[in-house]
Point group: C2
Chain length 192, copies 2
Protein backbone atom coordinates (compact mmCIF):
# COMPACT_ATOMS: atom_id res chain seq x y z
CA UNK A 1 0.00 0.00 0.00
CA UNK A 2 1.60 3.13 -1.33
CA UNK A 3 0.71 5.64 1.42
CA UNK A 4 1.97 3.32 4.16
CA UNK A 5 5.21 2.61 2.31
CA UNK A 6 5.78 6.33 1.86
CA UNK A 7 5.20 6.91 5.57
CA UNK A 8 7.67 4.14 6.42
CA UNK A 9 10.25 5.61 4.02
CA UNK A 10 9.70 9.12 5.38
CA UNK A 11 9.41 8.46 9.11
CA UNK A 12 10.36 4.87 9.87
CA UNK A 13 13.58 4.15 11.71
CA UNK A 14 15.47 0.89 11.51
CA UNK A 15 17.31 -0.10 14.68
CA UNK A 16 19.85 -2.91 14.80
CA UNK A 17 18.93 -5.81 12.58
CA UNK A 18 15.30 -6.31 13.48
CA UNK A 19 13.50 -3.30 14.99
CA UNK A 20 11.24 -1.27 12.73
CA UNK A 21 10.24 1.86 14.62
CA UNK A 22 7.12 3.42 13.17
CA UNK A 23 5.70 4.96 16.31
CA UNK A 24 5.30 8.39 14.73
CA UNK A 25 2.31 7.19 12.71
CA UNK A 26 1.35 3.62 13.62
CA UNK A 27 1.72 2.55 17.22
CA UNK A 28 2.19 5.48 19.57
CA UNK A 29 1.20 8.53 17.58
CA UNK A 30 -1.43 7.54 15.01
CA UNK A 31 -1.84 9.14 11.60
CA UNK A 32 -5.62 8.84 11.51
CA UNK A 33 -6.00 9.55 7.78
CA UNK A 34 -3.48 6.82 7.03
CA UNK A 35 -5.17 4.48 9.50
CA UNK A 36 -8.50 5.08 7.76
CA UNK A 37 -6.89 4.33 4.38
CA UNK A 38 -5.38 1.13 5.78
CA UNK A 39 -8.82 0.04 6.92
CA UNK A 40 -10.11 0.60 3.40
CA UNK A 41 -7.19 -1.39 1.97
CA UNK A 42 -7.94 -4.34 4.27
CA UNK A 43 -11.58 -4.17 3.24
CA UNK A 44 -10.58 -4.22 -0.41
CA UNK A 45 -8.33 -7.24 0.14
CA UNK A 46 -11.09 -9.21 1.87
CA UNK A 47 -14.12 -7.72 0.13
CA UNK A 48 -15.10 -11.06 -1.43
CA UNK A 49 -15.45 -12.66 1.98
CA UNK A 50 -18.24 -12.50 4.50
CA UNK A 51 -16.72 -11.05 7.66
CA UNK A 52 -18.81 -10.95 10.84
CA UNK A 53 -16.25 -9.57 13.22
CA UNK A 54 -12.72 -8.15 13.47
CA UNK A 55 -10.41 -9.62 16.11
CA UNK A 56 -7.23 -7.89 17.28
CA UNK A 57 -5.11 -7.63 20.42
CA UNK A 58 -4.59 -4.56 22.56
CA UNK A 59 -3.24 -2.00 22.14
CA UNK A 60 -1.56 -1.18 18.84
CA UNK A 61 -3.91 -3.26 16.72
CA UNK A 62 -7.03 -1.40 17.80
CA UNK A 63 -6.77 1.63 15.50
CA UNK A 64 -6.51 -0.39 12.28
CA UNK A 65 -9.16 -2.80 13.56
CA UNK A 66 -11.60 0.08 14.05
CA UNK A 67 -10.98 1.61 10.62
CA UNK A 68 -11.25 -1.82 8.96
CA UNK A 69 -14.55 -2.44 10.75
CA UNK A 70 -15.79 0.94 9.50
CA UNK A 71 -14.83 0.00 5.94
CA UNK A 72 -16.82 -3.23 6.32
CA UNK A 73 -19.91 -1.19 7.27
CA UNK A 74 -19.39 -1.03 11.04
CA UNK A 75 -19.02 -4.67 11.96
CA UNK A 76 -17.95 -5.25 15.60
CA UNK A 77 -14.35 -5.30 16.79
CA UNK A 78 -13.22 -7.56 19.62
CA UNK A 79 -9.82 -6.94 21.12
CA UNK A 80 -8.04 -9.58 23.16
CA UNK A 81 -6.77 -8.31 26.49
CA UNK A 82 -3.33 -8.93 27.87
CA UNK A 83 -2.61 -9.93 31.45
CA UNK A 84 -5.05 -10.14 34.31
CA UNK A 85 -8.20 -8.14 33.98
CA UNK A 86 -10.65 -7.91 36.83
CA UNK A 87 -13.20 -6.72 34.28
CA UNK A 88 -12.87 -9.60 31.81
CA UNK A 89 -14.13 -12.25 34.22
CA UNK A 90 -13.37 -15.95 34.18
CA UNK A 91 -15.55 -17.03 31.27
CA UNK A 92 -12.80 -16.52 28.72
CA UNK A 93 -10.76 -18.15 26.00
CA UNK A 94 -7.04 -17.77 26.64
CA UNK A 95 -3.85 -18.25 24.66
CA UNK A 96 -0.19 -17.72 25.40
CA UNK A 97 1.73 -15.25 23.27
CA UNK A 98 5.45 -14.60 23.48
CA UNK A 99 6.34 -10.99 22.78
CA UNK A 100 9.76 -10.60 21.18
CA UNK A 101 9.51 -6.84 21.58
CA UNK A 102 9.11 -7.04 25.32
CA UNK A 103 10.71 -10.48 25.84
CA UNK A 104 7.76 -11.60 27.94
CA UNK A 105 5.12 -14.31 27.79
CA UNK A 106 1.66 -12.78 27.79
CA UNK A 107 -1.65 -14.47 28.28
CA UNK A 108 -4.32 -12.99 26.04
CA UNK A 109 -7.99 -13.33 26.87
CA UNK A 110 -11.25 -12.97 25.01
CA UNK A 111 -14.63 -13.27 26.70
CA UNK A 112 -16.53 -16.29 25.40
CA UNK A 113 -19.62 -14.14 24.95
CA UNK A 114 -18.17 -12.28 21.98
CA UNK A 115 -17.07 -15.16 19.76
CA UNK A 116 -19.88 -17.43 18.67
CA UNK A 117 -19.47 -20.71 16.84
CA UNK A 118 -19.22 -20.40 13.02
CA UNK A 119 -18.68 -16.63 13.18
CA UNK A 120 -16.38 -15.58 10.34
CA UNK A 121 -13.55 -13.54 11.82
CA UNK A 122 -10.82 -11.40 10.25
CA UNK A 123 -7.71 -10.86 12.36
CA UNK A 124 -6.10 -7.41 12.12
CA UNK A 125 -2.80 -6.41 13.74
CA UNK A 126 -0.19 -3.72 13.34
CA UNK A 127 2.85 -6.02 13.04
CA UNK A 128 3.66 -9.53 11.91
CA UNK A 129 7.12 -10.87 12.73
CA UNK A 130 7.26 -14.39 14.13
CA UNK A 131 3.50 -14.62 14.05
CA UNK A 132 3.06 -15.26 17.77
CA UNK A 133 0.20 -12.79 18.25
CA UNK A 134 -1.72 -14.00 15.22
CA UNK A 135 -1.24 -17.64 16.26
CA UNK A 136 -2.56 -16.79 19.71
CA UNK A 137 -5.62 -15.18 18.18
CA UNK A 138 -6.07 -18.16 15.81
CA UNK A 139 -5.87 -20.48 18.82
CA UNK A 140 -8.69 -18.54 20.47
CA UNK A 141 -10.78 -18.70 17.27
CA UNK A 142 -10.26 -22.47 17.14
CA UNK A 143 -11.43 -22.82 20.75
CA UNK A 144 -14.51 -20.76 19.92
CA UNK A 145 -15.32 -22.71 16.77
CA UNK A 146 -15.05 -19.58 14.61
CA UNK A 147 -13.95 -19.55 10.99
CA UNK A 148 -10.76 -17.65 10.23
CA UNK A 149 -11.19 -15.45 7.16
CA UNK A 150 -7.56 -14.38 7.17
CA UNK A 151 -5.15 -11.93 8.73
CA UNK A 152 -4.48 -8.35 7.72
CA UNK A 153 -1.32 -6.75 9.05
CA UNK A 154 -0.01 -3.26 8.52
CA UNK A 155 3.70 -4.06 8.54
CA UNK A 156 5.20 -7.50 8.04
CA UNK A 157 8.82 -8.19 8.84
CA UNK A 158 9.58 -10.32 5.81
CA UNK A 159 12.93 -11.36 7.27
CA UNK A 160 11.19 -13.14 10.14
CA UNK A 161 9.33 -16.36 9.41
CA UNK A 162 5.79 -15.73 10.71
CA UNK A 163 4.17 -14.57 7.49
CA UNK A 164 5.65 -17.25 5.27
CA UNK A 165 4.78 -20.04 7.70
CA UNK A 166 1.17 -18.88 7.99
CA UNK A 167 0.81 -18.66 4.20
CA UNK A 168 2.27 -22.15 3.79
CA UNK A 169 -0.40 -23.37 6.18
CA UNK A 170 -3.05 -21.87 3.93
CA UNK A 171 -3.87 -18.73 5.91
CA UNK A 172 -4.65 -15.73 3.72
CA UNK A 173 -2.24 -13.12 5.06
CA UNK A 174 -2.44 -9.61 3.61
CA UNK A 175 0.37 -7.25 4.58
CA UNK A 176 0.15 -3.62 3.51
CA UNK A 177 3.93 -3.25 3.63
CA UNK A 178 6.70 -5.83 3.93
CA UNK A 179 10.12 -4.97 5.32
CA UNK A 180 12.75 -7.19 3.73
CA UNK A 181 15.72 -6.03 5.77
CA UNK A 182 17.22 -3.33 7.93
CA UNK A 183 20.62 -2.22 6.73
CA UNK A 184 22.61 0.51 8.47
CA UNK A 185 19.46 2.01 9.91
CA UNK A 186 17.66 1.92 6.56
CA UNK A 187 14.41 0.06 6.16
CA UNK A 188 14.40 -1.92 2.92
CA UNK A 189 10.83 -2.40 1.70
CA UNK A 190 9.69 -5.11 -0.66
CA UNK A 191 8.37 -3.74 -3.93
CA UNK A 192 5.00 -4.97 -5.02
Amino acid sequence: MQALKEAIRREGVGIGSDIVKVDSFLNHRIDVALSTQMGQAFHEAFADERVDCILTVEASGIAAAITTAQAFGNIPVVFAKKGDHRNVGSDVYTAEVFSFTHQTMNVIRVSRRYLQKSMRVLIIDDFLANGEAIRGLMDILRQAGCELVGAGVCVEKGFQPGGQQLREEGVKVVSLAIVDAIQDGNIILRDD
Copy 2:
Protein backbone atom coordinates in the same frame (compact mmCIF):
# COMPACT_ATOMS: atom_id res chain seq x y z
CA MET B 1 -25.79 11.11 24.27
CA GLN B 2 -28.90 9.10 23.50
CA ALA B 3 -27.42 6.15 21.60
CA LEU B 4 -24.82 5.51 24.29
CA LYS B 5 -27.41 5.72 27.08
CA GLU B 6 -29.61 3.25 25.24
CA ALA B 7 -26.67 0.86 24.85
CA ILE B 8 -25.92 1.15 28.57
CA ARG B 9 -29.57 0.50 29.46
CA ARG B 10 -29.76 -2.44 27.04
CA GLU B 11 -26.39 -4.13 27.63
CA GLY B 12 -24.68 -2.57 30.64
CA VAL B 13 -24.34 -4.58 33.82
CA GLY B 14 -23.93 -3.06 37.26
CA ILE B 15 -21.84 -5.10 39.68
CA GLY B 16 -21.66 -4.37 43.38
CA SER B 17 -21.76 -0.68 44.16
CA ASP B 18 -19.22 0.66 41.69
CA ILE B 19 -18.53 -1.51 38.63
CA VAL B 20 -20.19 -0.55 35.36
CA LYS B 21 -19.60 -3.37 32.91
CA VAL B 22 -20.01 -2.21 29.34
CA ASP B 23 -17.58 -4.51 27.64
CA SER B 24 -20.12 -5.70 25.09
CA PHE B 25 -19.87 -2.40 23.20
CA LEU B 26 -17.20 -0.15 24.71
CA ASN B 27 -14.06 -1.75 26.06
CA HIS B 28 -13.68 -5.35 24.94
CA ARG B 29 -16.11 -5.77 22.09
CA ILE B 30 -16.56 -2.43 20.32
CA ASP B 31 -19.75 -1.29 18.64
CA VAL B 32 -18.04 0.59 15.83
CA ALA B 33 -21.10 2.53 14.67
CA LEU B 34 -21.64 3.74 18.23
CA SER B 35 -17.95 4.56 18.59
CA THR B 36 -18.11 6.62 15.40
CA GLN B 37 -21.16 8.48 16.73
CA MET B 38 -19.36 9.14 20.02
CA GLY B 39 -16.47 10.66 18.09
CA GLN B 40 -18.93 12.96 16.33
CA ALA B 41 -20.49 13.90 19.68
CA PHE B 42 -17.09 14.83 21.13
CA HIS B 43 -16.36 16.89 18.03
CA GLU B 44 -19.67 18.70 18.43
CA ALA B 45 -18.94 19.44 22.09
CA PHE B 46 -15.51 20.90 21.32
CA ALA B 47 -16.17 22.24 17.81
CA ASP B 48 -15.55 25.86 18.88
CA GLU B 49 -12.02 25.01 19.94
CA ARG B 50 -8.86 24.58 17.93
CA VAL B 51 -7.67 21.05 18.64
CA ASP B 52 -4.29 19.95 17.29
CA CYS B 53 -4.12 16.49 18.75
CA ILE B 54 -6.09 13.89 20.72
CA LEU B 55 -4.39 12.29 23.72
CA THR B 56 -5.60 9.06 25.31
CA VAL B 57 -4.18 6.10 27.19
CA GLU B 58 -4.04 2.51 26.01
CA ALA B 59 -6.05 0.43 25.46
CA SER B 60 -9.75 1.18 25.92
CA GLY B 61 -9.48 4.86 25.08
CA ILE B 62 -8.07 4.29 21.61
CA ALA B 63 -11.28 3.53 19.73
CA ALA B 64 -13.08 6.72 20.78
CA ALA B 65 -9.87 8.71 20.30
CA ILE B 66 -9.64 7.52 16.68
CA THR B 67 -13.27 8.28 15.86
CA THR B 68 -13.00 11.71 17.52
CA ALA B 69 -9.87 12.47 15.50
CA GLN B 70 -11.75 11.46 12.35
CA ALA B 71 -14.59 13.85 13.26
CA PHE B 72 -12.02 16.64 13.68
CA GLY B 73 -10.77 16.01 10.13
CA ASN B 74 -8.11 13.40 10.87
CA ILE B 75 -5.98 15.14 13.46
CA PRO B 76 -3.34 12.88 15.07
CA VAL B 77 -3.97 10.65 18.07
CA VAL B 78 -1.27 9.99 20.65
CA PHE B 79 -1.84 7.21 23.14
CA ALA B 80 0.11 6.99 26.37
CA LYS B 81 1.65 3.59 26.98
CA LYS B 82 1.48 1.69 30.23
CA GLY B 83 4.40 -0.11 31.81
CA ASP B 84 7.83 -0.65 30.34
CA HIS B 85 8.10 -0.45 26.61
CA ARG B 86 11.32 -1.27 24.86
CA ASN B 87 9.94 0.55 21.82
CA VAL B 88 9.08 3.83 23.53
CA GLY B 89 12.67 4.71 24.43
CA SER B 90 13.87 6.92 27.26
CA ASP B 91 13.00 10.32 25.86
CA VAL B 92 9.56 10.35 27.43
CA TYR B 93 7.22 12.20 29.71
CA THR B 94 5.92 9.99 32.48
CA ALA B 95 3.16 10.15 35.07
CA GLU B 96 1.90 7.77 37.73
CA VAL B 97 -1.69 6.58 37.50
CA PHE B 98 -3.44 4.42 40.08
CA SER B 99 -5.94 2.04 38.51
CA PHE B 100 -8.87 1.28 40.79
CA THR B 101 -10.06 -1.38 38.37
CA HIS B 102 -6.84 -3.34 38.60
CA GLN B 103 -5.66 -2.02 41.97
CA THR B 104 -2.23 -1.28 40.58
CA MET B 105 -0.03 1.76 40.13
CA ASN B 106 0.84 2.21 36.47
CA VAL B 107 3.42 4.46 34.94
CA ILE B 108 2.19 5.96 31.70
CA ARG B 109 4.61 7.26 29.09
CA VAL B 110 4.44 9.54 26.09
CA SER B 111 7.39 10.16 23.81
CA ARG B 112 8.50 13.81 23.97
CA ARG B 113 8.58 13.94 20.18
CA TYR B 114 4.80 13.86 19.87
CA LEU B 115 3.79 16.65 22.21
CA GLN B 116 5.14 20.04 21.23
CA LYS B 117 4.91 23.16 23.34
CA SER B 118 1.67 25.16 22.90
CA MET B 119 -0.05 22.31 21.07
CA ARG B 120 -3.77 22.34 21.93
CA VAL B 121 -4.72 18.87 23.11
CA LEU B 122 -8.07 17.20 23.80
CA ILE B 123 -8.02 14.23 26.16
CA ILE B 124 -10.39 11.36 25.33
CA ASP B 125 -10.99 8.32 27.52
CA ASP B 126 -13.60 5.63 27.90
CA PHE B 127 -14.20 6.05 31.66
CA LEU B 128 -13.95 8.76 34.29
CA ALA B 129 -14.26 7.67 37.91
CA ASN B 130 -11.72 9.15 40.31
CA GLY B 131 -10.01 10.98 37.48
CA GLU B 132 -6.62 9.34 37.92
CA ALA B 133 -6.03 8.60 34.23
CA ILE B 134 -7.06 12.07 33.12
CA ARG B 135 -4.89 13.68 35.81
CA GLY B 136 -1.94 11.59 34.64
CA LEU B 137 -2.49 12.74 31.07
CA MET B 138 -2.89 16.36 32.26
CA ASP B 139 0.39 16.03 34.16
CA ILE B 140 2.10 14.93 30.94
CA LEU B 141 0.57 17.85 29.03
CA ARG B 142 1.85 20.26 31.70
CA GLN B 143 5.36 18.81 31.40
CA ALA B 144 5.18 19.23 27.62
CA GLY B 145 3.89 22.80 27.80
CA CYS B 146 0.73 21.88 25.89
CA GLU B 147 -2.63 23.57 26.33
CA LEU B 148 -5.45 21.39 27.61
CA VAL B 149 -8.62 21.95 25.60
CA GLY B 150 -10.66 19.67 27.83
CA ALA B 151 -11.54 16.06 28.43
CA GLY B 152 -14.17 13.98 26.66
CA VAL B 153 -15.20 10.74 28.34
CA CYS B 154 -17.69 8.16 27.21
CA VAL B 155 -18.98 7.08 30.63
CA GLU B 156 -18.56 9.08 33.84
CA LYS B 157 -19.23 7.50 37.20
CA GLY B 158 -21.04 10.43 38.74
CA PHE B 159 -20.92 8.83 42.18
CA GLN B 160 -17.13 9.03 42.20
CA PRO B 161 -15.51 12.44 42.61
CA GLY B 162 -13.20 12.74 39.57
CA GLY B 163 -15.49 14.60 37.21
CA GLN B 164 -16.77 17.10 39.75
CA GLN B 165 -13.28 17.89 41.01
CA LEU B 166 -11.94 18.47 37.51
CA ARG B 167 -14.87 20.77 36.66
CA GLU B 168 -14.35 22.73 39.87
CA GLU B 169 -10.76 23.26 38.78
CA GLY B 170 -12.01 24.73 35.51
CA VAL B 171 -11.43 21.78 33.21
CA LYS B 172 -14.09 21.41 30.53
CA VAL B 173 -15.23 17.83 31.02
CA VAL B 174 -17.78 16.43 28.57
CA SER B 175 -19.28 13.05 29.47
CA LEU B 176 -21.57 11.34 26.99
CA ALA B 177 -23.29 9.40 29.77
CA ILE B 178 -23.19 9.79 33.54
CA VAL B 179 -23.95 6.90 35.87
CA ASP B 180 -25.42 8.23 39.11
CA ALA B 181 -25.62 4.95 40.99
CA ILE B 182 -25.73 1.20 40.78
CA GLN B 183 -28.66 -0.29 42.67
CA ASP B 184 -29.33 -4.03 42.79
CA GLY B 185 -27.43 -4.55 39.57
CA ASN B 186 -29.25 -1.72 37.81
CA ILE B 187 -27.34 1.17 36.30
CA ILE B 188 -29.04 4.48 37.13
CA LEU B 189 -28.23 7.05 34.44
CA ARG B 190 -28.43 10.79 34.94
CA ASP B 191 -31.00 12.42 32.69
CA ASP B 192 -29.87 15.37 30.63
